[in-house]
Structure formats: C-alpha cells, structure tokens
C-alpha cells in the first residue's frame, strides 16, 4: 500500500526531471563538482596521510625503547640503563604476549674499531641484536646479501651486516659480501649490506652501523676485547664495568662454575642481560596500548608489585607521533571545510532551480491539487524531486571523484586510497542537501491555493 505510492511519487519525480535534461544537468553540476572534489580530495588525503604515516613509522615514530632502570649503590644512582635487569627472555615474552607490539629485539651495544685490510673506521653503532631489529626499525630491505638468522644468534656465529657508510668507508665500492672484517679484534664475515637510511631526526648517520647476533657481541666480543668499554652494559655507563673499575684485579661478575658443575650443565644457564629492548607498536595509535602491555608483562616477569619499584623504563617518540596526529587532524578539518562549502554552494543551486521550477509549474501544481493532490502530496513530490536530483548528482560526483583520483594516481603517481566512509558520507550528505535546500521550494509549492494556481499565467 505504501510502496506503490512511493514508487509512483518517484516515477513522477523522475519524469519531471527528465523533461528538462539540460537544466537538470546544470543543476546537478554544483553537487557533482562538490561531491567529486570532496571524494577526490579525501582519497588523495587518505593516500598521502597513509604515506606520511608510513614515512614517519620508518623514521621510528612507532618505536619503543625499553631500558633497564637505574642502579643504585650506596645511595649513588648511576642513571637510566645502568642496572642489568632486562633479559633476552623478556624480549621473547614481549613478542609472544603483547598483541599491540609488532616486533621486538634485544640490543647489546659495543664500541670500537672495525678494520678491513689496510683501512679502519670507528662505527657510530655496533649492535648485537636479532633479525627482528630490522623489523622494528622498518628497515628490512637489504641492498645486498641477507640478514643473519636466529640460528646464527643461537650459535653466536661471527657474522655481521653493515650499513652503507661502513660499506663505503671500508670496502670502497667493492662488494663486502663474504669478506672477513675485524670488529674489536674479532673476525666477522659480512653477510649483508643494509639499504641506505640517512640521518635520523637528531642528525646522526644511521648508516654508520654494524649489526651482529647479540650473543656474538655479548660473549665473544665482550669477553675477548679489552678495547671494549663495557662487556655487559651500555657504553656510557663505564662505571659499571668491573674490569675498568679494578683494572688490575681479576674480578668476576658471576660465580665461576666448578668443573663438575660445568659437566653437569653442558649449556650453563648464565644470567644474561641485554642493554635494552627495542620494540615497535603495530601503529601510532597502538603505542599507549603497547606501553601498557609491556609494562604489565615486565612487572609480572620481574615480580614487581609496586609501580615505584619498576626496574625498567619505556620511552617513546611522543613528539613525533603528536606531530603526525596533529597534521592528520588538521588535514581532515580542512577537507571537511572545503566539503561543506562546496556542498552548500551546490545546495543553493538546487534551491534556486527548484524555486524557478515551482513558479514555472504553478499551473501544474494547481491542476494536481484540483484533481485531488493534498498539500503534503505536493510537498513530497517536490522534495523527492530535489533529493533525487541531489542523489543523482552525488552519485555522479562520486564516480567523477573516484575517476579523478584514479587519473591522479595514474599520471601524477600520487598515492590515493579509496575512502569508503567518504563515499557513504557523500551519499548521505547529498541526500540531506536535497532535503534541506529542497524543503523551502517544496513547502512554497504545497502552500499554493489551487484556484489561484490554476489561474496563473
């Protein structure tokens, strides 16, 4: 009963719109261009903000640093990272139990000289880590060769991968793959060369780096190297190194197992700490969640009840992520403003034409009333006409916008991304524009007096 009426009103509206195709097209043009521009801009906007997010993620915005807490001895604090509470098992647990964390890797730092043939160089960073480190840093593309594996980590293999700066300074254009180089007097085989990453936000050359299995750095380099500033902890906290505190006495950090004990435990369960753990959140928005998950996990593992006793610190790149989110919201607001203005302009065009149409069709309105149309029938008819106009314009606009952004991707190679919410919103908004701007003309039409309308010339 209701449906057939709706169908008839719709058919009447379509017939009225079809009667004047040129005017209809011109009227819709406002909405078409408005919606088209909004869609195209939203798609370009989404595409570029995704690109920006990716770039910033590459710069390390999603990275979290887990540092050991400050060690204190006799009332003297040694600063962040001076205690030795983080273990590689903590890192494994983070990977396993924290859903908001994309990846995590332990880090052992060393400092010293790298030598190849007659050339030498002191790299900015010598890190012992796992292959996950490159996932965390979003740096998995290798210029040459491959990254070392978990097996290398287990076996403390003497392999390393080097950054572009090292490759340039030590190998001078020849391929470093398979070559043996000495790092802190230990011979390493180069298995891979990282792609170039350039300077970080602080202006430090990130390509001046050597990565090796953390076990190798920790046990082989640390144990044998006297040039190494520290065997166990960060390079800066030299005070925590017993070998330097007491250069002349043989100190041992750990109780040396007797021969029998060693025989009983072929793989001794040594207490092993790492300097820090680097982790990456899945995305910028998941950073706080990742921090919460890691905090809870480490408290549980370290049996800490009181947050005050935390033996670790988590740092993130708040400044960077804030910059990212404020850029994105600013962009969204700008787009919204443009969208509103263009749709209002389109809506005014619709209202204008509908008013003209009502005046022009006064006699028709009078006739329809004379044969039984009620005021609300007339109101509905003109309102639906306006909405159909706007919706058709909106749909054409969506097609235009999608086509436009496709062409932009195709020829200008800007990243774009189809934005489903923008399309849905456009349909809803253009229908609403039809209702809002069509209402006044439709109301005017419905208020006509049939006798006067019939007499209208």
């Amino acid at each position: 009963m209701r449906l057939f009426r709706v169908m008839r009103i719709l058919r009447t509206a379509l017939r009225a719109i079809r009667k004047n195709p040129m005017r209809t097209a011109l009227t819709m043009l406002g909405i078409i261009i408005g919606v088209g521009a909004v869609i195209a801009m939203m798609e370009i906007g989404t595409g570029s903000s995704d690109a920006i997010a990716k770039t910033i993620a590459k710069m390390g915005a999603n990275t979290l640093l887990v540092l050991p807490g400050a060690a204190t001895s006799g009332g003297i604090g040694f600063g962040a990272g001076s205690s030795m509470t983080l273990t590689p098992q903590d890192c494994d647990a983070i990977i396993r139990d924290c859903p908001a964390v994309k990846s995590a890797a332990p880090l052992v730092r060393a400092r010293g000289q790298a030598v190849y043939q007659d050339r030498n160089w002191v790299p900015m960073s010598i890190y012992g880590t796992t292959e996950n480190y490159l996932n965390v840093r979003d740096w998995t593309d290798m210029a040459e060769g491959e990254i070392f594996t978990d097996k290398d980590v287990r076996n403390s293999t003497k392999v390393c991968i080097i950054g572009q700066t090292i490759a340039r300074e030590l190998f001078q254009g020849s391929s470093p793959i398979g070559k043996e180089m000495r790092v802190l007097n230990i011979s390493f085989k180069v298995v891979g060369v990282l792609s170039s990453k350039g300077a970080n936000m602080m202006g430090m050359d990130q390509d001046d780096i050597i990565l090796a299995p953390w076990t190798t750095i920790k046990f082989r380099v640390g144990a044998s190297s006297s040039t190494s500033s520290s065997t166990t902890s960060s390079t800066t906290s030299t005070t925590s190194s017993p070998s330097q505190l007491y250069p002349n006495s043989q100190t041992s950090l750990y109780p040396v197992p007797s021969n029998t004990q060693a025989a009983d435990n072929p793989q001794p369960a040594r207490f092993t700490n790492v300097d820090q753990i680097v982790a990456a959140a899945n995305s910028t928005v998941e950073i706080p969640q990742a921090i919460n998950e890691i905090t809870a996990l480490l408290r549980e593992r370290h049996r800490i009840r009181n947050p005050k006793d935390d033996d670790f610190n988590i740092r993130n790149m708040t400044e960077m992520t804030n910059a990212l989110s404020s850029t994105t919201t600013l962009m969204t607001k700008l787009l919204l403003a443009v969208a509103l203005i263009s749709l209002i302009v389109g809506g005014v065009g619709i209202m204008n034409i509908m008013l003209v149409s009502v005046t022009e069709r006064t006699r028709e309105i009078g006739l329809r009333m004379a044969v039984g149309a009620r005021a609300k029938d007339i109101l509905r008819q003109f309102l639906i006409e306006a909405v159909v106009l706007c919706l058709a314009g909106g749909i054409l606009g969506i097609i235009l916008g999608c086509g436009g952004s496709y062409l932009i991707t195709r020829f200008l190679r800007w990243p774009t991304e189809t934005s489903v919410p923008a399309i849905v919103a456009s349909v809803i908004v253009s229908a609403s524009v039809g209702i809002v701007f069509g209402y006044y003309p439709a109301w005017k039409a419905s208020r006509l007096d049939p006798i006067e309308a019939l007499r209208y010339e």
Binding site: K19, A370, D377
Partner: protein, 234 residues
C-alpha cells in the same frame, strides 16, 4: 434524491479593508443525472460558485450538502479527497501537463487516490476512457500534438478516470471553434445520457446552454431563475 444542495451560500472576498461580496445567499439543488448550465454575465460569480461546488474553495457561510454530507467546513485535505473521488473538472484552457502523453495525463489523478489501484488497472481504465472519447489512436500523443478539441476530450477523459458522480466544466468550449464546441458538448450529453453522470457547465453562451436540460442564471450573486427546471434541449 438530490446530489447537490446549497443553502444560503455566501462568499465574500476580503481585500484589505474592502469586503467584496460575490455570492449573496445562493440556495439551489441539483439532482443526480441532471445536465445543467450555469449562466450569467461576466463577473456575476459563476466561477466563484463553481469553485465552491467543486470543493476547491469553501463558502464564507451557508451549507453545502454533497451526497447527503455537509462539506462546507471540511479540511483542505478532505476537500482534496472529495475532489479526487467525487468530482471531475474540465477547464477552459484544458490544463493538460505539457510534454506528457495523453494517456499519462488521463492516468494522473489516480496517483493521488488513497485506495490501491494496480498499475495495469490504471492503464486499462485510461485506455478505455481514451477510446470512449474517441482518441484511441492518439494515446501517446503529447498535448502539443493534439488539436484543441482533442485536448479537451483528453481533459474530459482525465476528469472521468476516478468515476466521479459530478463533472464540472468552466467554459469548456471557450477556447474552441463552433464545430469542435459542438463535438465536445455532444460528448458531455452522451456521458450524461448513457452513463448518468451529472454535468454542470458554466457558460455565458446561450448556444452552449441550449444543449442542457436546465439553465441556472446568476445575477449579481443571486439565483435569478435557477429553481425552475426547463424541459429538455430543443
């Protein structure tokens, strides 16, 4: 049984401070199946009376009984409903929808009918009426492709689509030459005789009034002689 009964109908237009009394107490009854001419000088209030009879307007005072129902004070929506179901209009200037086929023009009033009439039934009725008014071969012509007489016959078909009990025609032949006028009037007469539809024609032309059974003269807002039914047409 009377179809229409008017009791002391008055209509006054208020134009600012000035009252313009047009109808000054019309009492009149028209029976079912009558063929009536409403006559009078220009400005005597024929169209005004016709608009009240046709439920397009309501009287300032007085009673209007249509099929035993007092309708002088019903709401605008209810008047629209009455126009749709009980009344057919034929206008001097045809008032067909431009750029719309004759058939669609005839079907148009049914889209405002509350009761559900199926699309096929609507089409069937419209085609039947087009045949009835002798335009079976012009169904898909637009008004601009039809002669004046043909357009008026389309308008008659449109007025009949909802099977009204009374047909009002305000100067239906005013825009037609004498030959087509005769055709249109013959059509009214035929509908009146064969289908028993009450027809009320407004005219100031005695040649038109000649075709009707009864002439009601309005003079200065009052009925001059309308109560005396005259014989059939000569």
């Amino acid at each position: 049984m009377e179809l229409i009964e008017l009791k002391n109908i008055c209509k006054t237009y208020y134009m600012g401070d000035i009252d313009v009394p047009v109808l000054k107490g019309i009492t009149l009854s028209i029976g079912k199946g009558e063929f009536v001419a409403l006559m009078g000088a220009s400005g005597s209030g024929k169209s005004t009376l016709m608009n009240i009879l046709g439920c397009l307007d309501h009287p300032t005072s007085g009673e209007y009984w249509l099929e035993q129902r007092e309708i002088s004070k019903v709401s605008a929506d209810e008047r629209a409903n009455l126009r749709n179901h009980k009344i057919g209009f034929v206008f001097q200037n045809f008032n067909l929808l431009p750029r719309t086929s004759a058939l669609e023009n005839v079907m148009m009033p049914l889209s405002y009918t509350h009761e559900h009439v199926s699309d096929s039934e609507v089409k069937r009725r419209a085609e039947e009426l087009m045949n009835r008014v002798g335009l079976g071969d012009r169904m898909h012509h637009e008004p601009s492709e039809l002669s004046g007489g043909q357009q008026q016959r389309v308008a008659i078909a449109r007025a009949l689509i909802n099977r009204p009990s009374v047909l009002f025609a305000d100067e239906p032949t005013g825009n037609l030459d004498s030959k087509t006028s005769e055709e249109v009037l013959a059509m009214f007469k035929q509908l009146n005789v064969e289908e028993g539809i009450t027809v009320i024609i407004v005219t100031h032309d005695p040649n038109v009034a000649r075709h009707t059974q009864r002439q009601i003269h309005i003079h200065d807002g009052l009925i001059a002689n309308g109560q005396t039914s005259q014989g059939g047409p000569q």
